[in-house]
């Protein structure tokens, strides 16, 4: 049992995956000597060499496109996109190639690739450094999309994603890199990668979140408990496939659901979850499914990002509103 930050947990998970399988190759801009701009790959090039931890030219489509070729040659590339807002030059390769090659080849060509993207806001960054593009990847058949909210999951999930024979977009909540610190039991049995999890049990209403908003929801549940209201919090962990089984089970008990994410409201994951929960749990719902999200604006300048990001008050307000129906 070791106490580590989410950043360190990812580093330890990557290291373990590289030790376990010499076909794992880490690639990206500045991932070598620098250890990545967030230091997630710190020390890996020193220990595994520059053929396995590859500093690439500054070209996102090139990074993902060459990783496709490496995967076809039997390697398991783990590519780092430096920031969420920089993934778009690689979008064509991800959507048209990475996601579809298994299908197009009648299942003959596998694409065991992990695309790591630090994502989300709350770190006071300049523009293009705080985005939440998850819905764009979730909307792409052939990709799997996961995100972690705590160091223990980070350590295990990055290894599971690398081990998967399917391409995985691995979203790393960058504001938790150094603020989320917890004990990681490296020998603990792992939860399956494609499952969500109840992280706080409750009886009155359900909060669904993932990545950076899980901790905000947990804080909201703590405050609500002081006010006598018991909120259940579910960490989705997997966004594609979506595992809503625990959500349905929870909503059937609580009758109230608030979905919380940083990404924009319209056609965000909350819309999908609302639709599916309505289909599955219509007769259990006491109120419409509500969403607390970023707005349908570009991510704002850092000085006012707190207004954009779902916070404790907006979440508790939404819970209150579910009692008004």
């Amino acid at each position: 049992m070791t106490t580590m930050t989410l950043a360190k947990a990812l580093n330890a998970g990557l290291r373990k995956a590289m030790e376990d399988d010499d076909k794992v190759v880490v690639m990206g801009e500045d991932v070598g000597a620098l250890g990545g701009v967030f230091r997630i790959t710190d020390g890996l090039q020193k220990d595994f060499g520059d053929a396995r931890v590859v500093d690439t030219p500054l070209a996102e489509s090139g990074i993902v496109g060459t990783a496709v070729g490496l995967a076809m040659r039997g390697y398991r590339p783990v590519v780092e996109i430096q920031f969420d807002g920089f993934v778009y030059p690689a979008y064509d390769q991800i959507v048209c190639q990475v996601a579809k090659i298994h299908f197009r080849s009648q299942g003959r060509v596998r694409m065991p690739m992990v695309i790591r993207i630090p994502y989300g806001g709350g770190i006071g960054a300049v523009e293009h450094h705080s985005e939440s593009p998850e819905a764009q990847f979730v909307h792409t058949p052939g990709l799997k999309v996961v995100t972690c909210s705590n160091p223990a999951d980070a350590y295990v999930m990055i290894q599971q994603a690398i081990h998967s024979d399917d391409p995985v977009v691995f979203l790393e909540p960058k504001r938790l890199y150094h603020s989320a610190k917890a004990e990681v039991d490296e020998s603990a049995p792992a939860a399956p990668l494609w499952q969500s999890r109840v992280v706080r049990a409750g009886a009155d209403a359900t909060l669904v979140a993932y990545g950076p908003t899980v901790s905000t929801c947990l804080d909201a549940a703590t405050v609500a408990a002081e006010e006598g209201r018991s909120l259940e919090v579910i960490d989705l962990r997997t966004l594609s496939p979506l595992d809503l089984v625990p959500v349905h089970e929870s909503v059937r008990r609580t009758g109230r659901l608030v979905v919380v994410h940083e990404a924009h409201l319209t056609l965000g994951l909350g819309a999908e979850i609302a639709a599916r929960v309505t289909e599955e749990c219509f007769h259990s719902l006491e109120a419409p499914v509500l969403r607390v999200t970023g707005f349908d604006t570009p991510y704002p300048p850092a000085r006012i990002e707190d207004a954009f990001l779902p916070d404790l008050d907006r979440i508790l307000d939404a819970v209150d509103r579910t009692y008004g129906f």
Binding site: G65, R73, I101, H102
Partner: protein
């Protein structure tokens, strides 16, 4: 007047040096860099390949006209570029095609009927890439050049470059057209290949047209010179000369296998047909140009050379023509017989590990389809 600070602009040279071993008139010429001898058997093989591939192409075009294919990308006129490049490969080499490389596919042993399946809408690339060392056709322009470069980087990691063992050392070829050179991915592939000295040969068939846009809209300088800006050699070869494309590609592949890195080959050729069966080239180009290029026909010039030198007689030519007829007949027959895929494959092929979501969608569809069957009874 030359700019005193920046110097002259790069030359817009229309006719740079072209490697040629067989003139349009069917005369064998020498090139100091590619002093290569061909046996009569090899030359007859090139003739046979080009003739059969031309038949493959005309047959597929006819099938499209009869409504049997949704689309066909014609290779007419590019037979020499593709057969020369395809026959220069070693068995262990790996090819990443765009969608017009029917001649290279032929050289790699991909059944032409499998090519039809893609254009008929039966599948999206029904051959096994690893069985032929020939990747799937790639519709998004230039995307495969990065895959080729990455694959070549994998070959490097596998220690299969520069060992001196001709059966192990491996090169990778990326095929693309003149239009693709404008794409970011192709330029990024050049950067990565140069930076990592990857064993990849970039084989550009400059067929002069990107759908309706002439080559001049893509580049102000000859394409083979693009590589110089990226730090590796480029060479322009007569793409209608199968001997020259073979010789140049063979040398470039060997250089890559030896560990000397990438090369850009510009096979200077002409697309005699349309871009695909959906466009009408009479709208955008002069018939004079087409007539001019007909005089450079890759098959006719080899036929002249073979006949004049007693390497092919009427019997041989008739034998190849009969073989082409048989291929055409088989393509027609087997195209009609291609079965539609099962809708079941849809959900099964998305991932290596199927998700519960997809299984549920599949079950819903099955139940829906079954309800119609019951009504039908």
């Amino acid at each position: 007047m030359t700019d005193p600070v920046f110097g002259p602009p790069p030359e817009r040279a229309p006719d740079p040096e072209l490697v040629q071993l067989l003139t349009p008139e069917g005369e064998r010429v020498r090139h100091p860099g590619f002093d290569i001898e061909f046996s009569a058997e090899e030359l007859r093989g090139f003739y046979r390949d080009m003739t059969l591939v031309r038949r493959l192409d005309t047959e597929a075009t006819a099938l499209q006209r009869h409504g049997e294919l949704g689309l066909w990308a014609q290779l007419l006129g590019q037979e020499a570029a593709q057969i020369g490049a395809g026959r220069a490969l070693a068995p262990q080499d790996y090819v990443f095609p765009t969608y017009r490389e029917h001649g290279v596919a032929w050289c790699r042993g991909v059944d032409p009927v499998r090519l039809l399946a893609l254009f008929r809408g039966v599948d999206q690339g029904g051959w096994d890439p690893s069985a032929h060392n020939f990747g799937l056709y790639t519709i998004v322009i230039g995307a495969q050049t990065l895959h080729a470069t990455g694959y070549a980087m994998g070959v490097q990691r596998d220690g299969l470059v520069g060992t001196g063992d001709p059966e192990r050392d491996t090169a990778v070829v990326a095929h693309f057209g003149d239009g693709a050179t404008s794409q970011g991915d192709v330029n990024e592939a050049f950067v990565f290949a140069a930076s990592f000295n990857a064993p990849v040969v970039f084989f550009c068939q400059n067929n002069q047209w990107a759908i309706s846009e002439p080559f001049e809209r893509q580049s102000r300088i000859p394409l083979y010179r693009r590589s110089h800006g990226f730090g590796f050699p480029g060479i322009r070869v007569d793409g209608n000369d199968v001997l020259a494309t073979y010789a140049v590609t063979r040398a470039a592949l060997q250089r890559a296998r030896d560990g000397q890195g990438p090369v850009l080959i510009e096979a200077y050729t002409y697309r005699m047909g349309a871009h695909t069966t959906t466009d009408d080239p009479t709208r955008y180009r002069l018939s004079d140009d087409v007539e001019h290029w007909k005089l450079k026909d890759p098959i006719a010039r080899l036929e002249v050379y073979l006949r004049r030198n007693g390497m092919a007689d009427d019997a041989f030519l008739a034998e190849v023509a009969a073989e082409a007829d048989a291929l055409g007949e088989r393509m027609r027959r087997e195209c009609h017989a291609l079965p539609d895929p099962s809708t079941h494959d849809l959900w099964d092929l998305v991932h290596a590990e199927k998700t519960a979501e997809l299984a549920a969608q599949q079950a819903d569809y099955d139940a829906h389809a079954a309800s119609f069957e019951e009504v039908g009874r």
